[in-house]
């Protein structure tokens, strides 16, 4: 039985089966899960913002979609994954409050768009997504089969 390894906010981690990865309480942030079905090398990033080039405080590369996803891919390849086999699934990007100071308008949606754009640029196939709406999500990615389990308050858990 593998371990469930926790990925924090603005954080990313890579593991191999039988271990699995989780991140708790994605709000407007995005969880990007990637896995290689052959080597079962799996990665999960929890990004907060779309674009590292738009912001001065950009030293933590796991905070941004553009730099975080790139780093996750590099780490997975180092751990033995093959780029051509890696598939991605994403979740999160909610609009938690129906109010926003100018800065926060649609940051969830912008995070989702930036994540998809980065995956496309890197040539990683996005095979499933559950983004937007107005609720928080806890996600778990299973290395054995690439199942991406999404848990939300007051809803049945579901797999994508």
């Amino acid at each position: 039985m593998g371990q469930m390894i926790k990925v924090g906010m603005a954080d990313l981690k890579v593991c191999k089966a039988p271990d699995n990865l989780t991140t708790i309480g994605l709000g407007s942030c995005i969880g990007i899960a990637m896995y290689d079905p052959v080597t079962k090398v799996t990665g999960l990033a929890h990004i907060m913002l779309p674009d590292s080039t738009a912001i001065r405080a950009n030293s933590n590369i796991a905070k941004f979609a553009d730099t975080g996803i790139k780093k996750l891919l590099d780490d997975m390849i180092k751990a033995g994954a093959s780029k051509t086999r890696i598939k991605a699934k994403i979740a999160g990007g909610a609009k938690m409050f129906d109010v926003g100071t100018s800065n926060l308008i649609n940051v969830g949606e912008r995070n989702a768009i930036a994540s998809k754009e980065t995956l496309r640029k890197l040539g990683i196939k996005l095979i499933a997504e559950d983004t937007g709406k107005n609720f928080g999500r806890t996600v778990e990615i299973y290395s054995e089969n690439g199942d991406f389990l999404i848990k939300a308050v007051g809803r049945e858990s579901y797999k994508i």
Partner: protein, 207 residues
Amino acid sequence: MGDTLSLEEINQKYPDVLREIGNIGAGNATTAIANMLNLRMNMSVPDVQFIPVEEIGSAIGAEESLVVGIMLGVEADIQGSMMFLLDMPSAHRLVNKLMMRDPEYDADFDEMDLSAIKEIGNIIAGAYLNALSGMTNLTITPTVPSVAIDMAASILSVPAIEFGMTSDSALFIKTEIDDEVGIKGYYILMPEGDSYQKILSSLGLPV
């Protein structure tokens, strides 16, 4: 910006001033709730926290614990937002008190309950920001509040992102309240951009 103080420097240089802002703002807000509900409420000494954005999700307790968040934008002379957070039992007690229901009633919130929660948010934010405005002579107006009931980490991702845009850490002025029947809540004031600097300079402090 550039030569003005960073959040970290503000935190190091003026912790007492920040605590006093929390004291006056939250004091006024707590009195407003206590009067509205006819309760006696206590308030903690405000806790000024300079925390890495990565840790905000657990700033008020377990990341997956269910909380009620009321959020408002703050506009005019300063920009930012403020949040009032309640754990679920507290939110139920507050709403029951306001709706004059049995204190043990804990069915899911309906539309009426949610608008009661929003109204509590309005009163609290108005009282908090009025106090801040009176102290600084700045015009500070709240926007219409929005309510979310969800995991603490998801709700707190909103301020995390807001601070994350300009900094690797957040400066929270957190004040806890409680009362004899166990209503527990947190106020978090989140000025953005150069609003902290504006507040401090309006108090005559060099930034």
